[in-house]
Amino acid sequence: MSARSLEINRRKVWILESGSGAPLLYLHGFADVHSVKETWLPFHEQLALSARVIAPAHPGCAQSDENPDIDVIEDVIFHYLEVLDALKLDSFDLVGHGVGGWIAAELAARHPEKIRKLVLIGASGLFVEGALIGDVFMNAQPEFGSSYASLREMLFSSANQANALEMFPDGKGELEDEVRRYQMLRLSSRIGFKPPYFYNRPLRNRLHRITSPALVIWGEKDGFVPRSHGEAYAELIPHSGALKVIAGVGHSAHVEKPEELAKLVSDFLAK
């Protein structure tokens, strides 16, 4: 694994990279590398067995510099266009989880020619009437001064399983994990707090531009982005198969069933 920072437009972008083969750009969500953990989760390690996995930290996350001029998702998309230029990536597989999935869908709708294959996992970004994306910010405010049970409930299939408790412990966790969680919420607050809440209404009418094959994956019990969003993505992206639902997991399928998910993604990319 290599870790490095690129200087892009006078700001530092922090990047992890592993494996060899076709380039796979991974965009992180909550409960993920860069947004909690300093390094790969088992899911990413398994992906790196068959691809060159490149995972930049979003602006302001982990060791990437913050950009106070980011107000809307469009600003993040332009940031990533510069990252792609700097990495000289003009044809690659794109995998995104949660907010990272939103960024991936937006990128693919704007630059379909750059994307070889697209994988969205529990991606926010769409407006689906009557199916609100959950309030991760209010749930990130502790109950009884120290409990993050309702946040875990939102991001995992249940609040008290070990992997959820490990990533979002009650009380005070590892200091740097705490800071990374905070940074992810701070970036999210810029682009996802003010209504539109983690979505961009015009995106729905742009998805038809995507030309690559796409795989849309959802945790059966996703408590953050309702499953109907996954159904909408699968329906609106022209070359997407049916929504693939992973049984028994919540929003963080990559944490809860890393092997099953990694195999699903790797098999799809290898096809």
């Binding site: 405010q141 009884f144 009650d170 200091l175 705490e178 905070y182 940074q183 701070r186």
Partner: protein, 414 residues
């Protein structure tokens, strides 16, 4: 030189919750169901509260204090300017302090500039203009993204003051509030502009911004241990760094009190109101019970580096003011001072002495405290406590700040 300035602060709580609210209600803030509002009981409530503020003016308090809250039972003033407007008509002497309008919640800061200018004219120059950024609950009230709240806040505050002082029309080319024609009618009466107060919770950046502009710093804490004294010292240092010097009227604090004939009588009379305030009004704000909306990673308004520093000293699940369980713990918090005139004068006097604070913003009506008791406490305070505090503080300030002349000692220093 002038003595400590004593202000009467009213929060205008919703006082009609059932006795079991703390058991059945998850929070008093943001999500507290508005079906609990009872028109049969609440009719006339605003008049009762406004009359208490008018009484403060009659009793010779130096001013009345209002502030802005939304969607809670702690403070029923989504628009403090409306109450201030009423006060311009039923009071004649005291300052009208609005601490403050929550600028990031306003679509256009000019609305605040205009209403404050109107209030200054309507009150014959009695307005003290507070600007506040809002905190955690307000983020959720109006869906204000946290990450750039502070920048938005200072841009709005500076635009408002510029609209009061610069000739219009001028163009404001701001990041958040660009406006082509800024041309304020009416202008405020006080020249060059009304005194500006800014609340903060000891963050060095807020103190610095306040010092740079020559405003008054108000410590937004309800408890007064060593931190209050430290805040005063820190602010004094920041002022020095900016070529300014501290005096007591650059600094303000909030406290609550209840005064009765004896210590025991005071406790007996205010007990219900005090505990209603602590357990109901603070739930969701300064209690760990329920969901704590005021501080936390879900309202990420400070930079990550500042959050790291904050987390280093953070103890999860620590007791907040509303978590106190008995009178002894409450006394130790130095937040609500309850007792006979002698006790209250002694305890508040000690606080002024240590914190060298010239603006004391005092809450009398707490929770569901009946009108009769709130008024009695205010009168006793005005008759028996205020004269002692004024006498002692005048002596102290004269001795400790000999270089300060009276003109500079008004709260309006620019």
């Amino acid at each position: 030189m002038r003595p400590v300035q004593l202000f009467c602060w009213h929060f205008m709580a919703y006082p009609y919750l059932d006795k079991d609210f703390d058991k059945s209600g998850h929070s008093g803030w943001v999500t507290v169901p508005n079906k609990l509002w009872d028109n049969n009981k609440a009719r006339g409530l605003y008049q009762e509260y406004i009359d208490q503020l008018a009484l403060a003016d009659d009793l010779g308090f130096d001013g009345m204090v209002l502030n802005e809250h939304h969607q809670n039972i702690y403070g029923l003033m989504p628009s403090p300017n409306l109450i201030a407007s009423a006060l311009t008509q039923c009071t004649s002497r005291g300052k009208i302090v609005i601490l403050g309008n929550l600028l990031p919640l306003h679509l256009n800061p000019m609305r605040v500039a205009e209403e404050y200018a109107m209030l200054d004219q309507m009150s014959h120059g009695r307005l003290i203009a507070g600007f506040a950024p809002g905190g955690g609950p307000e983020t959720f009230n109006y869906d204000v993204p946290s990450a750039n709240t502070r920048e938005k806040f200072w841009e709005a505050a500076d635009l408002i003051v510029r609209s009061w002082t610069d000739d219009g029309p001028f163009t404001h080319e701001g990041r958040y509030f660009p406006l082509r024609y800024v041309n304020l009618w009416p202008k405020p009466l006080q020249q060059p502009f009304p005194p500006v107060w800014i609340p903060g919770s000891r963050s060095p950046s807020t103190m610095t911004e306040v010092a740079k502009r020559g405003y008054c710093y108000f410590l937004s804490s309800r408890s007064h241990g060593g931190e209050t004294q430290r805040a005063q010292q820190e602010f004094a240092q920041v002022l020095e760094k900016h070529g300014d010097s501290y005096h007591p009227f650059r600094f303000g604090i909030l406290m609550s009190t209840y005064v009765a004939e004896t210590d025991q009588q005071a406790r007996d009379e205010c007990e219900e109101g005090v505990w209603y305030f602590l357990k109901n009004c603070l739930k969701g704000h300064l209690r760990k019970e329920g969901r704590q909306l005021t501080y936390g990673p879900g309202v990420p308004y400070i930079p990550a580096a500042a959050w790291r520093e904050y987390m280093k000293g953070y103890t999860p699940g620590r007791k907040l003011l509303g978590d106190v369980e008995n009178w002894e713990e409450l006394e130790a918090s130095q937040s609500i001072i309850v007792g006979s005139p002698e006790t209250v004068a002694r305890r508040i006097g000690a606080l002024i002495e240590k914190a060298k604070v010239g603006n004391l913003l005092i809450q009398f009506q707490l929770g569901n405290m009946p009108d009769r008791l709130a008024r009695k406490s205010m009168k006793l305070f005005a008759d028996k406590v205020a004269p002692i505090l004024r006498h002692d503080s005048l002596k102290q300030f004269t001795k400790e700040f000999p270089a300060m002349n009276v003109d500079q000692a008004t709260p309006a220093v620019h």
